[in-house]
Amino acid sequence: MQNFKKYFIAATAAFAFVSCSNDDQNAVSNNLTLEFNNTFKNTTIVLGDAASASATANTSAAGQVHHFSELKYVISNIRLVKEDGSEVPYNVNDLDKGAAVIDQSKTASLSYVLTNVPSASYKLIKFGLGIKPEQNTLDQVRFPKFYAAAGANDTQMMWEWGSGYRFTKVEGFYDTDNKAMSIHTGSTVEGTAGAYTQGVNAYRDITLNLTTNAVVGSSAPKIKIKADFDKMLSGKINTITLSTGTGMNDNATPNVHTAAQMVKFVDNLGGNGTNDISGMFSVTAVEN
């Protein structure tokens, strides 16, 4: 009987404990912030016009010095992966709630806050650079907020002729004489499954291991993501030399505004989906 009492007390205490920790986690979901740091290698990029002295300059593997005046990209299809491997999608079917334009000129856009993230310990984050073909239709009725944000005069993240969004938009200058460079990417996929389809899918799925687990619950963690734009010209997949030849192989590489010559930039920025699934992205820290 004495033993029974002991066990009973112990059990009650254990229950109390469990319910306590449950109270902390169970009912609670919390915010999770993705903080983007756009860099050349380890230096945060400062934008600037052609003659800017303060703009961050970078030199590519091919020896071309360059700096940017504009830097934007779209992220969407965010998924968090728990310790047990299960995926928690974050508004993946709603661009208004689950996609964002990251714009280096707008500090607020660099921190994307995910709200009501279920409490759990997350080991991995997945997201898309760009937008999946089935959502990439400039549907103003379905996603009015994202349409307005992407189409704003100071953002211009639409490829009107392709009826889709721009996925990245980089404007800048290269070589010592500061020639203009302008790299845009986006998808041009048309057609229905089973029938004739055409075009290039520039969406890239990114998978990043977290440096330590992000524990959502009583705290609202922050995941710091580095986007290293040094990789744009000096990537894991392609080493690009900007040249203004008019032949079909070197067509307008400093001015990519079509699917022509686009994919090598896409693969450098977002990986090729097979042996490179991180592209220019990496997680530098998790703050719990």
């Binding site: 079909m248 307008a252 505004h257």
Partner: protein
Amino acid sequence: MKKIIPLLSVVLLLISCSNTDDEMIAIDNPEIALNIPTGFPEPNEFVRFNKPTKYGVELGEKLFSDKRFSADNTISCSSCHIQENAFTDGKAQGIGIEGRIGLRNTPSIQNLMFMKFYNWDGSKLQLENQPLVPIITHEEMDSSILDVIGKIQNDASYADLFKKAFGDAAITPERIYKSIAQFEYSLVSANSKYDKVKRKEGESFTAGEAKGFEIFQQKCASCHSTELFTDQSFRNIGFPLNTNSNEAGRARVTGITADYMSFRVPTLRNIEYTAPYGSFGQFPTLKAVLDYFDNGVLEAENLDPIFKNNGSSIPLTEEEKNNLIAFMKTLSDTAFVKQ
């Protein structure tokens, strides 16, 4: 159970009553018979999902000429697609609001029901997907579909037409796209002199036209084939290049290097009315195009084999050029362009 049946009947009666109400105001909106001219290819596979109806076409035609589609209410579809010019504008490149100059030459609108690819680069495979593009493009109408709907939704004449065309007065983007496409599907040109000669309707070619037809078959028909006078392939034929960085021809869409500066072979129907010629209006006249072929086209790695294997030119005497032009004018459908 016995009680339930009368009750059910009453309910059913009520339901059918309300149905009857709807049907009473339902409008007879018959499908328009698709008269496929002899020898024309099968319609685009998407046409069967949006068959033109009497009021769908009427609505599409009204929308087509509504200037409220543009941000400043100055430009409609028909501002650039002018029927008298086989729905082109006579300009080298399309001109949108505030005089903004577009990337390319306005393409003609005719026999679109039979096309597999739309636009110079074939960027669209389904006509219903096209109307949004000029609405939102900065150099064209620079508006948005919800802005357009906002401007027309209180217009009683539209409420009536949407109801007649689609059963109720709701104005949706899909209905706008569908009705414009229906109007365009209805624009079939197959009543030129050429057609009448071919159908043996009492007309015959002049000597010059007949000679021109012969040369056409020898030197042009491998690309300008079928009764559409295009094989709908994409080819780089060495025309002067548009150096705008937004231009890559078919490669703009496919990203395929071999498609660089390849354009869809244009139809020759109503070609008399669609000057200037080329993807950005490089040539003011048909004679200028033929002179260019005769003198030799630009070299390119992916130059079409027909040119590559024939010294990059189509040699033509002056007489042949004149006869060819005479033949091409037999493809003019005066009833279609209402001239």
